[in-house]
């Protein structure tokens, strides 16, 4: 399979594998393997389930979060569902930071990631329903060079089979990496903003500050979020950043949404959602 990937280059080299229980299909393109996974073996009337696109990335390469950072391109998934089915937002697990020469900061994933969405079946689903669920995936994968890639993956799922969870560990692992609200974990307070435009936020944890804490701002139309600094001591993490207004922009008050990433005691990647109100400049 790896050899196929090497020869296919940027081109989409789709291989459809319908695994009986897992109901997964997968595809291979340069340096990234994609597969579509479902959380159920069969659809149960009135019960939402998960679809996830798992991207497996060659060692030494990375793809991008929904905010790529200073450069790069967000990884995107577009689901196409049978009539009557609806999808929630695409959920991105807590990313990592990549710092390239020239102080270029990027946010993304290496090794593997799963982008997920919750699917709600229609209320009037017929008992003999069988349908095709599709995902179109687009990414930019970079190491010393960057390569655009895309793939189309799909799976067939019905409502007449035995209902049991599938891929449970995979979904549990990745859903736990979706950023959560801070409740119970940490308290967040604004500390200061100074004349040079630097903002400070303090996070007081309910336990000693975890390892690998990092701050991932979502993309904003009118600001570049620059000079991100994160330091932790005892139970406190201090975050500083500078929201730089793009020239010629005149936004009103707005909210900066961000993810505070960290590793839990077992070394699992986790994230908290922070919202920072920015006054009109």
């Amino acid at each position: 399979m790896r050899m196929l990937a090497a020869f296919s280059g940027v081109r989409n080299f789709a291989v459809s594998l319908f695994l009986l229980m897992a109901c997964a299909s997968s595809a291979f393109a340069g340096h990234v393997q994609t597969e579509l996974l479902t959380s159920v073996s069969s659809i149960e009337l009135g019960k939402p389930f998960w679809l996830g696109v798992r991207l497996t990335i060659d060692s030494g390469w990375h793809i991008y979060w929904e905010n790529a950072g200073d450069a790069g391109l967000p990884t995107r998934v577009k689901f196409t569902l049978p009539d009557g089915f609806s999808a929630g937002p695409v959920l991105y697990p807590t990313p990592s930071r990549f710092l390239a020469p020239g102080n270029i900061t990027m946010f993304g994933y290496e090794n593997s990631v799963m982008l997920m969405t919750k699917i709600t079946p229609p209320a009037n689903l017929s008992a003999d329903f069988q349908g095709e669920f599709k995902a179109a995936v687009h990414w930019l994968v970079c190491s010393d060079v960057c390569i655009l890639g895309n793939s189309n993956v799909s799976l067939s799922l019905g409502a007449s089979g035995k209902v049991s969870p599938v891929n449970q560990n995979v979904f549990d692992d990745w859903l736990a990496q979706i950023p959560q609200s801070a409740a119970g974990n940490a308290k967040v307070m604004r500390v200061d903003s100074n004349d040079s435009g630097k903002e400070s936020i303090k996070v007081v944890w309910s336990h000693p500050a975890p390892l690998a804490v990092d701050f991932f701002p979502e993309a904003m139309d009118d600001y570049n979020i620059t000079s991100i600094g994160v330091t932790s001591s005892q139970d406190t993490t201090s975050i500083t950043f500078t929201p730089q207004l793009l020239a010629g922009r005149h936004p009103g008050a707005t909210t900066l949404n961000a993810v505070l990433g960290y590793n839990d005691k077992e070394g699992n990647r986790r994230g908290l959602i922070l919202s920072v109100a920015l006054a009109a400049p």
């Binding site: 390239a100 010393d144 435009g197 207004l245 010629g248 919202s275 920072v276 400049p281």
Partner: protein, 202 residues
Amino acid sequence: MRKTHVLASLLAVVAVALAARGFADESGSGIAIGSRAPDFALQDQDGKTVSLHDFAGKTVVLEWTNPNCPFVQRHYREKTMQTLSDQFKDKGVAWLAINSSFFATNDQDKQWATGQSISYPVLNDSSGSTGHAYNATNTPDMFIVGVDGKLAYEGAIDNDPTDEKTGDKINYVHQALDEILAGKSVSVPQTKPYGCNVKYKD
């Protein structure tokens, strides 16, 4: 929870009053729109030294480029840069491509320029010094220097990172050059560039 001092509520919306927003931040978006564009002296694909001050009194477009980057390749395939530079050449607008990749060589720049029918200099900045002076982050990353030597635009070539737009596509460089030549102020002087990160040496 132990300490009860001035902590805001969980998942607080943190009120942050924005103080004056400068562009002095060195790790941020580099030189400010309206400030003087740094001079440079770099070799083109034929080994000839080209400086920004050679074009004093002209409007100059600087295009950060990397022939290996798929975003650059797409714009050359679509002839975005070649067409735009040709269109404004007779109106006193100079165009310089700058390759700050650590692996850039004059020979490779020449081979690429010939293959793409590029009529403007492709400058070798493999040391990255000019890229750093402008804080160019992406390929492509576009800068326009006005006749006064000051930066008039910085950012993306257009509003279409994923090459999907048709009717609502805006080429920001085209728009800014039109406005500059009409004696107007640039309505969108800064956007977020998109593309590959510039492959700097350090």
